[in-house]
Amino acid sequence: MWLLFYTLFYKKKMLSRNFYILYTLAHLKQKANVRGTILGYLWWFIEPMMLIALYSYIVGVIFGHAGPDRILMIAIGITLWKWWSTSLSAATTSFRRYKGIVTQVKLPLSILPISEVFGQTYLFLFGYALLQSILLFMGYMPDLFSLMITFITTMVLISALSLVLALLNVFVRDTAFLVGFGLRIFFYITPIIYPKERVPEDYQWLVSLNPFSYLIDMFNVSLIYTNQVNLANHLIILMLSASVLLFILFLVQKLRMKIIRNI
């Protein structure tokens, strides 16, 4: 009985320590990023705004597929993509960057890539707040419950992916280069600047095999097309993402020594 208490208490203590490390890393990192810049956090608004304007011009004016809906979806997609791509590319090299911590301190290594995702989430929330106010202004009410599940699913899936990339990068250094242009390819094959219906039948597999397209879809229905929300669908994706995350967490723990030595 006492042993049980002890284990619970001990686990809880370690868990809260790990969460505090996660928070500190994520928070401080973002602070360091904007140090010395004149516009500071504003950069996080400026870049997506420019991209949204650019892609709206290309899709709306040049290709002529515009409609207010389309522009909104582009805005949502680009804000999300910025969140994911910066998370993933930062996480890929995270073990290397935190070499000092990896080789000197005893802690679950998974914290390091995941802290990058959390740090970016932090910034994403600013962008999201802006986006949501525009949507509310235009009369779109989000489906809050669906949005919550979508958000959790995204955190889980992006964390899992960032762990995979970080782990790969320890053993195959080329991963960092691959991620650079891989993200660009994924940006275009994910239905972000075009609706997924426009993808021809023969190429639909590109959409259905792409995890990002599910996330984009989930956000779109939660934010705009709330009548199309399919919660069962959401939950299946959440379950799948969670099992991937658990597996990769287990794998990182298993390969701990190899990671420390190979870094």
């Binding site: 500190t24 401080l28 080789t103 301190v105």
Partner: protein, 245 residues
């Protein structure tokens, strides 16, 4: 002995497995060049620790001496729990190991103050505990206003002063000091030694890696002489230092 066991190593062997980094470049090299690379990349060097058995008790202040590459740092990493031994048993009461080579885990783009927070978090402190100590850390390290500048602007003396202040202020069960006492000016060194004698009372176990006879003689109550991954002597400070020379 009635003293409480803190850490015990039984026949511990630590091997650096041949690190496998796959590279197409290697395919194009001649056999001679390949052998050279293997030698240089240290992957032939095998056991960093060879069949080491030791017990550390509460209150021990152990000085570790040995030539470069004798396995001192590897031993420290096993003790703090970063490395799991390849063979043998390792028993430890310590939950959170201390920082080893101080300062090497600092994030260079963060300010000194932020690094204090980070180090505190890594050592298992919460926000309140960290904030209690901040004042005294800044005081002791004599950094003054520069605490708000990023670490990359610091001189090496400033980095080690900050590192030492952090490590001795956030106390954990085990404190491992790997070659940090040798930096800093004479005045600060004096201050460090004084601080060490203060904290020695409260710590469970302190491990000091140093090449300085004086430091080990003045602080430790036990010493270990490592060579090529084996323990040559484990005994009193005088005995070990005499052999080491």
């Amino acid at each position: 002995m009635s003293k409480k066991k803190v850490v015990e190593l039984k026949n511990v062997t630590l091997e650096y497995t041949q690190s496998k980094s796959y590279s197409i470049k290697k395919l194009f090299l001649s056999k001679h060049e390949r052998d050279k690379i293997i030698k240089e990349s240290n992957s032939l060097r095998k056991a960093a620790l060879n069949n080491v058995s030791m017990t550390f008790y509460e209150g021990d202040i152990v000085g570790i001496v040995g030539r470069n590459g004798a396995g001192k740092s590897s031993l420290c990493k096993v003790l703090s729990g970063v490395f799991a031994p390849t063979e043998g048993e390792f028993y430890s009461e310590v939950e959170i190991g201390s920082l080893l080579t101080l300062g090497s885990f600092f994030l260079r783009e963060l300010s000194g103050l932020d690094n204090v927070y980070l180090a505190g978090a890594l050592l298992g402190k919460n926000k309140r505990e960290i904030e209690e100590k901040i004042e005294s850390i800044i005081d002791f390290s004599e950094l003054g206003e520069s605490i708000n500048n990023p670490i990359e602007t610091y001189s090496s003396g400033m980095v080690s002063r900050l590192a030492f202040s952090i490590a001795t202020s956030f106390r954990s069960d085990i404190l491992i000091i790997d070659e940090v006492l040798s930096v800093g000016d004479k005045y600060f060194r004096q201050k460090c030694l004084q601080r060490m004698t203060e904290i020695i009372k409260g710590s469970k176990l302190i491990i000091i890696v140093s090449h300085s006879d004086h430091d080990i003689r003045s602080m430790c109550n036990r010493a270990v002489y490592l060579d090529k991954g084996c323990v040559l002597i484990d005994g009193s400070v005088g005995e070990v230092l005499q052999q080491y020379k």
